[in-house]
């Protein structure tokens, strides 16, 4: 019997939660789930920092959670993370340090996109037919007290991915000083602003029909709508919203028989759901009741992961490139040659799978900067690439790809360039990849795919590229001979060009 225990602690904007699960032969049993209310968001969203009082409360709660880690002997098998309530606070590092000194628990800030990715992966595992929704077009709405996370998918492409500061507690804090009777007007505006943002930045939004909800707000919705299956009807939410929209929070909690806190966040929560449903023209929302700690637990204990993630990212990168009028044929050709070179020169570069992915991505996007200007396009490529985001992507890898694009033209690195701040290991990887990318790029220097394919022959003292071309590759050869110096410098072996014209 294979068994293990894992614990996750999540310091959220409205509560601190902990889950302990046991896995026996892969089957999960929830052992404990703890919730202690702690409205860090109230501090962070209104004052910008966590007050000492809240910090002390957090310490008290975390001490108890530390007891649990001891009870189950989980000090080596836990992950403690904090979301926006801490992430957005000015004194976040002080907070994390105090928790560590007082309780021994090491908190990590989870960045917004990673948070969103965990939620996406977990929902994907939890919701039946998710694949179908992902193909046909779905908006994944993760609505919690601090933020609203939105992912939009269609045909396996992530059309939109963003974490926006419209969480229920945050908005409730923003409108604190508005008269109760008029608060709903403010909620209307926030909701409209959010949907406008989505409409503006997500082109395919009109084709998205499905809505999947998750996050702490789901508990509130199920508490008031008593759904029989895992869908909540828009009409039910509308009825409830209209019933209480002029009431003050205390009256709402009394009317709907929910906690004081839920009474306070009810209107901003439901208003936002309704706006999104209206935007999509859907009459219902599918939801996942999975709690965030549970999702984190599955993720960090590696019980859920995405197959073919790299392939998916490449697909999304290409889609991203298209937004910037990428020369797709050139991009694909360069990528094709890069990978061929990478495989053929394996013994020489001794790079792994991750670097291969980086090379492929950089090959696809290195010229994306043309969209801004032909001059200095490498610089433009670099920052456009660094703006790419999607759930599950590796932030550091994207940074490296951006640096590679910058360097692919062979200009000297500026002294203050990000390259200089990277570790020697990363610098070496970049240099190797840039050397290969330069060769591959040279092989389609004309952007006309004159070189159709290549053969790579490796001997002890020379590498020979045979370029099978449909015409004489004048430009390619010229650029090749200019750009192959890096290769010699890095790998210590000359690389030579030979054209072979193939006639049909």
């Amino acid at each position: 019997m294979k068994s293990s225990l894992y614990a996750v602690i999540n310091v959220g904007a409205s509560a601190v939660r902990m889950q302990i699960s046991e896995f026996v032969n892969g089957k999960e049993t929830l052992l404990e789930y703890l919730v202690s209310p702690l409205r860090l968001g109230r501090d962070t969203f209104s004052k910008g920092y966590i007050t000492l009082e809240s910090l002390n409360k957090a310490v008290d709660i975390m001490k108890k959670f530390a007891d649990k880690l001891t009870e189950y002997d989980l000090w080596k098998n836990y992950k403690a993370i904090c979301t926006s309530g801490v992430r957005d606070a000015d004194n976040k590092y002080f907070f994390i340090d105090r928790i560590k000194t007082k309780t021994g628990i090491e908190l990590n800030i989870i960045d917004e996109l990673e948070e969103l990715y965990v939620k996406y992966l977990a929902i994907k595992n939890d919701i039946k037919d998710f694949k179908k929704f992902e193909e046909e077009g779905v908006l994944l709405l993760n609505f919690s007290s601090g933020n609203v996370g939105i992912n939009i998918f269609k045909n396996g492409i992530n059309l939109f991915s963003s974490v926006l500061p419209y969480g229920s507690l945050r908005i409730a804090e923003y409108v604190k000083n508005i008269k109760n009777e008029l608060k709903h007007r403010a909620f209307d505006i926030y909701a409209e602003k959010l949907t406008n943002q989505i409409k503006q930045y997500c082109k395919g939004i009109n084709e998205i029909k499905y809505l999947i909800g998750s996050g702490s707000s789901i508990n509130l919705l199920t508490e008031v709508t008593y759904p029989k299956s895992n869908t909540i009807k828009k009409s039910d939410l509308e009825k409830l919203y209209n019933k209480v929209k002029f009431l003050e929070p205390a009256a709402i909690s009394q009317e709907l028989k929910v906690s004081d806190y839920n009474g306070e966040i009810f209107l901003p929560t439901v208003r936002l759901y309704l706006s999104i449903m209206n935007m999509l023209g859907t009459k219902e929302m599918i939801f996942s009741k999975q709690t965030f700690p549970h999702q984190l637990l599955l993720y960090y204990s590696k019980k859920i992961k995405e197959n073919n993630l790299q392939k998916k990212i490449i697909k999304n990168l290409l889609h991203f490139g298209k937004k910037y009028n990428l020369d797709e044929k050139h991009a694909k050709q360069v990528s094709n040659f890069s990978l061929k070179l990478f495989d053929a020169l394996e013994d020489l570069h001794s790079l792994g799978n991750k670097e291969k992915f980086i090379l492929e991505a950089a090959s696809l996007l290195h010229d994306i900067g043309y969209y801004i200007d032909i001059h200095n396009h490498h610089e433009h490529s670099s920052y456009i690439i660094s703006s790419f985001k999607m759930p599950g992507y590796d932030k550091n890898a994207m940074r490296i790809i951006s640096v590679i694009s910058y360097l692919h033209r062979g200009k000297k690195v500026k002294s203050d360039h990000i390259f200089n701040q990277l570790s020697p290991d990363d610098q070496l990887v970049i240099k190797k990849i840039v050397a290969i990318l330069k060769i591959a790029d040279a092989l389609d220097a004309s952007h006309m795919q004159i070189v159709q394919d290549i053969n790579v022959s490796v001997s002890d003292n020379v590498i020979k590229i045979t370029a099978i071309s449909k015409d004489i590759p004048y430009i390619e050869e010229k650029v090749f001979n200019r750009k192959n110096r890096d290769f010699l410098e890095i790998f210590g072996i000359p690389i030579l060009f030979e054209a072979k014209i193939g006639y049909e």
């Binding site: 019997m1 068994s3 225990l5 902990m18 046991e22 026996v24 049993t29 929830l30 052992l31 404990e32 789930y33 703890l34 919730v35 202690s36 209310p37 108890k64 959670f65 007891d67 649990k68 001891t70 009870e71 189950y72 002997d73």
Partner: protein
Amino acid sequence: MNNKFFNRELSWLAFNERVLLEATDPNLPLLEKLKFIGIFSSNLDEFFMIRVAGLIDQMKSGYNKRDLSGLTPSDQLSKIREKVLALIKKQSDIFSEILTKLNKEKVFFNLDYDLFPIDSIFFNEILPVITPITISPANPFPFIHNLNINIFSTVKKDGEIFHSIIIIPGSLKRFFIFQQGESYYIFLTETIIQRFLKFIYPNFEIVESFLFRITRNADLNFHSEEVEDLYKEIQNSLIKRAVGSPVRMEVLGRFQKESISMLMEEFELNEDGLYEVNEIIDYKFLINIDIPMDKHRYPGIKKSSLNLNEKKFIFNYIKNNDILLFRPYNDLTFVSQMVSEAADDPDVIAIKMTLYRANKDSSIIKSLEKAALAGKHVCVVIELKARFDEEKNLEWAKKLEHAGCIVSYGFVDLKIHAKALLIVKKEKGKIVRYTHLSTGNYNELTANLYTDIDFITSNDAIGSDVVNLFNFIMSYSDPLGWNELIVAPIYLREKLYNLIDNEIENAKKGSPARIIVKLNSLYDEALTLKLYEASAAGVQIDLIIRGICSLVPGVKGLSENIKVKSIIGRFLEHPRVLYFHNKGSYKIFLSTADWMMRNLDKRVEVLFEIKNHKLKEKLYDYLQLNLKDNQKSWILSQNGIYKKQIAKSDRLNLQEEMQKLTFIL
């Protein structure tokens, strides 16, 4: 007076009367009769300290709201006084009667002083520890402790009058027993002192001498906003209890009116607080009289228990079987054994339990200490607010903390009344939970005096709920959803409504509908009304309520389908068991909660269904025995009077029947 509800205090006094009247049961052994007289006094003291004190507070603060029965606090106080006067008269009459019988059996009280070395007891044991305090401007009136027995004397010398008080120290034994041949002589300390008074006041003429005793307000009040550390707060309150304002003064002996007036003025009491008693000022000592006369004692009870010789037997057993224990007929050592085995078991990672009232030298506490010292995770929730046990509980708390247990004191505003024990084991790498839920405390001594029901299981859904329960009461987490447990103050009341409503609905549809409820007390407006509603709908209801009952049974148009009985016997009936017919597929629940406002709304209590078919049947049979008992049952009539039902034929005594049980598995 409102005829829909009985008054709580009068109903309680009626209960205490039933306790007293047990002493008149012709079938009861003589020495056991003494115990009931003692228990009556002990109960009454508590009643004055809490209930009467509370009513006086209400009255003094001008709170004049009527209770469910329509009485104001002052109405209630005068009715209480009237009843108490009658009861204490009855008590001394019953005691005299028993005394006559005891004399025949050669047991005597306060006689033949010269026969025994009483003088040496007085001079060697008593005199050195007592100090008479003569009241004068230089010696102001001494502080008189709650429930302490004191001697007031007026003495005279050279024509001058002095008032003097002897506070009999609590450290002195209350009585001394001498054996002479087959005879036993019992002497009360206060009468010995009175007899030797002239040696205490030599050269004085003793004008008068009488005993008095003060009862003080002893309710602990916590102000939740001010309480930072419950432990400290309880300690402060204990000091306060000693100095709570006087609510009753009992006097015994010949006294001068002026002396009484002086005392009443001193204690700020009026006539209503004065109780003149006969013979004996405080009968509580009768509980502790231990004379080796087996024929005048209850026969011993043969407890059935499991064969526990085999190591790790308990957990293996529980793993495959749910267990129901009926105390005291089954041995509570099963539970002590469970904890002790857990303490030794290397696979056990955690032990958690609630301690409401634990006994001195509790083996459970020793096992918990041992487990903590062995590095196990031991959590103990000690309810410091367990009335009159606060001081004891503070001792456990410290002791367990020193051993490394995590000790939690519960909530400031919620008393924890749930009784739960959770043992977490790692068996072959997998977490397994063993739980024990009970209607009674983990107290090995009271386990012999109270009847209770224990449920032990390895069911994971229950285990998981008990984990949540502990997380809730130890403030590790907000209460979450429950699967098997229904927990007050959040869901329990609503669940009871639902269960009753279900019967009402069935009755309305013409299906048989029936409720049997066994409780200690029912005093709750909403639930009483709900039961009336059920009665009106045709639900047949049997209530077996030992103590307070606000419901008026058998009233046409209101409660004609409701019967109420109270069983008072050798053991204090303590389980709460609920039965609902549920269209034939009946449901049976055990609970720690009485149906009272304080229990359902201000305490953490649990209710849980017994689903195991075999155990359900046992509980059903148990309830039937309760209903069939015709030896110890008192039937409540609509005028509030309880009448004892003693059948001459087909006798059935619940507690005797239960002793015939073997270990119930």
